[in-house]
């Protein structure tokens, strides 16, 4: 259940879901990363990146690509 994921992974997935319809997935990834940069406090980004480093099996593929841009 979603309640078991780290909050940042869950939120990143929720954000990514808003952009799945985009035909241009590079642009979608840019927008997701831009959103996270604008609204997330640094320790949330750190937590997300830690999840990515840990394999982040539950992270949406678009969110994963966006997370890589945040480093």
């Amino acid at each position: 259940m979603s309640g078991d994921l780290p909050p940042t992974v869950r939120l990143a997935n929720d954000i990514a879901a808003q952009f799945v319809h985009r035909r241009d997935s590079d642009a979608a990834v840019q927008e997701i990363a831009g959103h996270v940069r604008s609204f997330w406090e640094p320790r949330m980004i750190t937590e997300l990146l830690a999840a990515v480093d840990g394999g982040a099996p539950a992270l949406d593929p678009l969110a994963l690509r966006a997370a890589r841009l945040l480093r």
Binding site: M1, S2, G3, P7, L11, D14, I15, A17, Q18, F19, V20, H21, R22, H35, S38, F39, W40, E41, P42, R43, M44
Partner: protein, 943 residues
């Protein structure tokens, strides 16, 4: 000021230029067409005697006291019902008129108790005034004749009495209830001598449909309908103009005082938001301000398990500042933060975010708007360029179609609802998108053209289907789109896809496709179509998407930038708009400017004399997560009961318990203060000096009627903490805070206390270009330049019904109560809502063996609570509904961690639940939740 008596011109002002010239007793006056002779006379300075006329109501013509003579007209027409004609010569004072009026007054007085000296309305009675005006000296009728002197009294309403013996059957009360309030609770029954006023169908006021707005009391010219406080305290002798501190309508009031005591609150006739109207909360429910439960001295304790110690202000402030610094020294600058309150003034909120940014040195400031309208801020900023509604309230009078989404204005925003109802009674058509059949769907003289009872959580699918109809059926305003917007082609391609058709939406929302199409066509083809929405839009995991969806729809159909249209949030608390404007969000400085913007930061760095962090801070839910994880340790909470009002209570409680320092600034001890180490007593609106900004961006003054009962203003308290942390603020008066806001924030550039005291109120942007403010936004262009279409994908909420939790719970509010009820529960308003009830469809009740009034348990996967059931078919089967005004209910014990993707606004409106008949004796909210049990142990404060 002394007691302010507004001039009553007898009949309403007519719109338009003063184009008709008439002469009244030799004085020339020009008035707009359609104006009554009575009003023209009053404006000419020669008021005509009157009883049944008052300028908040259309003329009625029953008392005949206002007779005049008009050259060229026969007889003595009633001036209230006679419209002016060009060149009219009117005489208001002649021997014939005097005699007629005296006769009329004699009749009235012969059937009226002659207890003027001991009557509660002595000095404020129009009957008494008129007897004097017409020079009545004797009454030739015998008091033993037939009269109404023994007519019964109705004292059922907690705030006002009805004394039938004093009634002159002028019907002002009936018309006020019809025309001003729109509830139609009163009737004038019988004929001639037997005429009498009845509430409902021969019921008491309390049993009837009366919503206790007070309009009839205000309209009554005698003591028949009288505030009980006037009976008890006597007539007021001075007035303080101020603003209601309850909801986002922001009504202006005259606080009528006797010495230091508020005798009554009377809505101000020239209040921009309310124009003389009020609801039960603002009008009557102010007693909490002087309630004995108020905390008046600071309290401190080392551990939350200790008893509170009452301490001096100095000790409380020293303790707070010292602990904040100690925690930062041990855990980093980012380990502390604050939450601002939408109940506080702009000035009080501004200083809290300044304390966080300048003294704490981070951006960990958020506001209770996070949990209500943060998606509005996000969605309207993305599409229109500014985080605010587009219209003033008056604009609804020009709407042809009103699309009401996820809002229940008759309960949540009653004074605005009265405006809306007036327009609906005139001609506008109404579309309601709401799972629940709210009162507006069908009420006296109002019937919605369409009520689409969509399933909770499916708003985006619905708004996309509306837009799909507009785009695919050629109903787009191509000229508007081409000239004013960008991103249309990509959006139109997206929205025209078959998955956005009403046929697909029908499966998702449960509303037949034909109904969706018909409603969408009605919206798209109206001359002026206006969207009004509430928390039923924002408090969803797709709240921000939905706000953008509505903005797309309005732009596509050209419904932006003039009277009668727009996208309008109905804000919950009185200063939600203002607290957001003031930089309460962790990513934005005042005026919605991102903290990463170097130029903006440097403006504040210069004024505040310190460098500011360019990184966004933590939002409320992130603060809780970080507290549980250990990196966030201290929180300053301004006037909000987060332990009760935020979702997933168990999670919030665990987070609060994990903190080393919780500072609560509030009027009362509350659920949050159970987790607090410092309780700083706050001030009520009767003590505050500052401004509130309502849902139409109107900045209103709130003025103190008494000194702070706690000895300190809230802005002073915050300033003192900041000073002790090395960032002195140096204000001596809140007007200096507003001056700083104006100097740093372009949209407020022209705002000052002096301006507000002069003009009453002003709607931002108030700038050199718009010195009188901006009632309607985006008139000639959008704030961001071009309006931006944003594709809005419908992503169903992760909260799904299951076999264990097969019902969907949605929440709302009720007229007489306010939020978690801390104020209204301490007033006579409990007469209407002694407890929260669970509304459940008869079908769902039957299969569970539940009958009306049974105690039931309400369980979600995070918690369980109990309350009583009310059988109701207002919701479709499968959906249950409750309010959240009483702490024992703990409705948020069951709400979950789901939140809006863009803003983390919690999803209060959709929770999968099960309801069961309770067999064990009812208790308080049961101990819930897996997450609470996994919370780290509570560290001892100061350790």
């Amino acid at each position: 000021m002394s007691l302010l008596k507004e001039t009553d011109h007898g009949t309403p002002r007519r719109p338009g230029a003063a184009s008709v010239s008439v002469e009244i007793d030799g004085t020339a006056v020009q008035v707009p067409e359609g104006t009554s002779v009575m009003r023209a006379a009053s404006e000419a300075g020669v008021p005509v005697p009157k009883l049944c006329a008052t300028d908040s109501l259309e003329a009625y013509g029953s008392c005949r006291l206002c007779l005049v003579e008009i050259d060229g007209k026969r007889g003595t027409p009633a001036s209230c019902t006679t419209p002016v004609e060009e060149g009219m010569q009117v005489r208001t004072q002649t021997p014939r008129l005097a005699k007629l009026r005296e006769g009329i007054m004699e009749l009235y007085i012969s059937d009226h108790p002659l207890d003027c000296l001991t009557c509660s309305a002595n000095g404020d009675c129009e009957l008494q005034d008129m007897a004097g005006t017409v020079g009545l000296r004797q009454v030739r009728y015998d008091e033993h004749g037939e009269n109404h002197l023994n007519a019964p009294k109705d004292t059922s309403n907690p705030y006002f009495d009805f004394d039938g013996s004093k009634c002159i059957a002028c019907a002002r009360c009936v018309r006020a209830c019809d025309e001003v309030q729109g509830t139609l609770a009163l009737t004038l029954d019988g004929r001639g001598f037997d005429t009498k006023i009845t509430a409902g169908v021969g019921q008491s006021f309390l049993e009837s449909d009366c919503v206790s707005c007070g309009a009839c009391v205000q309209a009554c010219p005698t003591a028949t309908l009288q505030e009980r406080s006037v009976v008890e305290l006597g007539m007021p002798n001075r007035t303080v103009l101020t603003t209601c501190a309850y909801c986002g309508v922001g009504c202006s009031f005259k606080a009528e005082m006797r010495g230091d005591e508020v005798v009554r609150m009377v809505p101000a006739k020239d209040g921009g938001a309310n124009e003389g109207h009020s609801c039960v909360k603002g009008r009557f429910a102010f007693g909490y301000a002087t309630h004995p439960d108020r905390v008046l001295a600071p309290l401190v304790r080392e551990r939350i398990t200790d008893e509170w110690r009452e301490v001096s202000w100095t000790e409380a402030l020293d303790f707070t500042a010292r602990r904040m610094r100690e925690i930062q020294a041990a855990h980093g600058l980012g380990a502390v933060g604050a939450i601002t309150s939408s109940r506080c003034t702009n000035e009080e909120v501004y200083v809290v975010q300044k304390m966080v940014r300048a003294a704490f040195g981070n951006n960990n400031v958020d506001t209770c708007a996070r949990v209500c309208h943060s998606p509005t801020g996000y969605g309207l900023k993305q599409t229109f360029g500014t985080s605010a509604g587009t219209q003033d309230f008056r604009s609804v009078a020009e709407a042809d179609v009103i699309l009401l989404i996820g809002a229940n204005p008759t309960d949540g925003h009653p004074v605005f609802a009265s405006r809306m109802k007036r327009r609906l009674r005139e001609s506008a058509q109404l579309i309601v998108l709401d799972p629940r059949r709210i009162d507006l769907v069908r009420s006296p003289h109002i019937e919605a053209a369409h009520h689409l009872p969509l399933g909770p959580g499916t708003n985006v699918a619905m708004v996309n289907a509306f837009a799909h109809v507009a785009v695919t059926e050629g109903l787009v305003d191509a000229g508007f789109v081409a000239e004013r917007c960008e991103g249309y082609d990509e959006w139109a391609e997206f929205i025209a896809r078959p998955e956005h058709s009403p046929e697909v939406a029908a499966e998702v929302t449960g509303v037949p496709a034909d109904d969706i199409r018909a409603a969408a066509r009605l919206y798209a083809t109206a001359g002026n179509a206006a969207i009004y929405y509430g928390l039923g839009v924002t408090e969803h995991s797709q709240g921000s998407t939905m706000v953008m969806g509505m903005a797309n729809l309005a732009m596509a159909t050209g419904n932006i930038g003039r009277d009668g249209v727009g996208v309008n949030p109905l804000r919950g608390q009185n200063n939600v708009q203002g607290s957001c404007d003031m930089g309460s969000f962790p990513h934005e400085l005042p005026g919605y400017r991102h903290v990463s913007d170097d130029a903006v930061r440097s403006v504040f760095e210069t004024v505040w004399g310190t460098s500011l962090s360019p990184q966004p801070g933590l939002r409320i839910p992130n603060m809780f997560d970080a507290a549980l994880e250990g990196s966030f340790r201290a929180l300053f909470v301004q006037g909000e009961d987060i332990a009760q009002s935020d979702p997933n209570t168990a999670h919030v409680h665990a987070a609060l318990a994990a903190m080393e320092l919780v500072v609560v600034q509030d009027l009362f001890r509350n659920e949050t203060s159970k987790f607090a180490h410092v309780l700083l007593p706050g001030t009520s609106f009767l003590e505050k000096d500052g401004t509130f900004t309502n849902a139409e961006r109107r900045i209103n003054r709130v003025r103190p009627v008494m000194a702070p009962r706690t000895g300190m203003h809230e802005w002073q308290i915050v300033g003192e903490i900041a000073k002790r942390m090395g960032s002195p603020m140096g204000y001596t008066h809140p007007r200096e805070i507003m001056a700083e806001i104006a100097a740093t924030t372009p949209t407020f550039a022209g705002v000052s206390f002096e301006l507000l005291d002069e003009v009453g109120s002003v709607q931002w942007p108030c700038t050199d270009a718009a010195p009188a403010g901006t009632p309607i936004m985006h008139r000639d262009g959008f704030v961001r330049g071009k309006g931006r279409f944003v594709p809005t994908t419908y992503v169903p909420t992760a909260e799904r019904t299951t076999r264990r939790f097969p019902l969907v719970l949605t929440t709302g509010r009720i007229l007489s109560q306010y939020n978690v009820g801390a104020q209204t529960r301490r007033t006579g308003n409990v007469a209407w809502h002694p407890e929260d009830l669970l509304e459940i469809h008869p079908h769902d009740a039957e299969v569970r063996g539940i009958t009306d009034g049974d105690e039931v348990s309400l369980a979600s996967r995070v918690g369980t609570t109990s309350l009583r059931a009310r059988l109701s078919d207002r919701m479709p089967a499968g959906v249950v509904y409750t309010t959240f005004h009483h702490p024992v209910t703990g409705a948020n014990v069951v709400t979950t961690e789901h939140s809006d993707w863009a803003t983390n606004c919690p999803e209060y409106k959709v929770t999968a639940v099960q309801v069961a008949l309770r067999t064990a004796p009812p208790g308080p909210a049961d101990a819930p939740s897996g997450r609470a049990r996994t919370a780290p142990p509570v560290p001892a404060a100061g350790s």
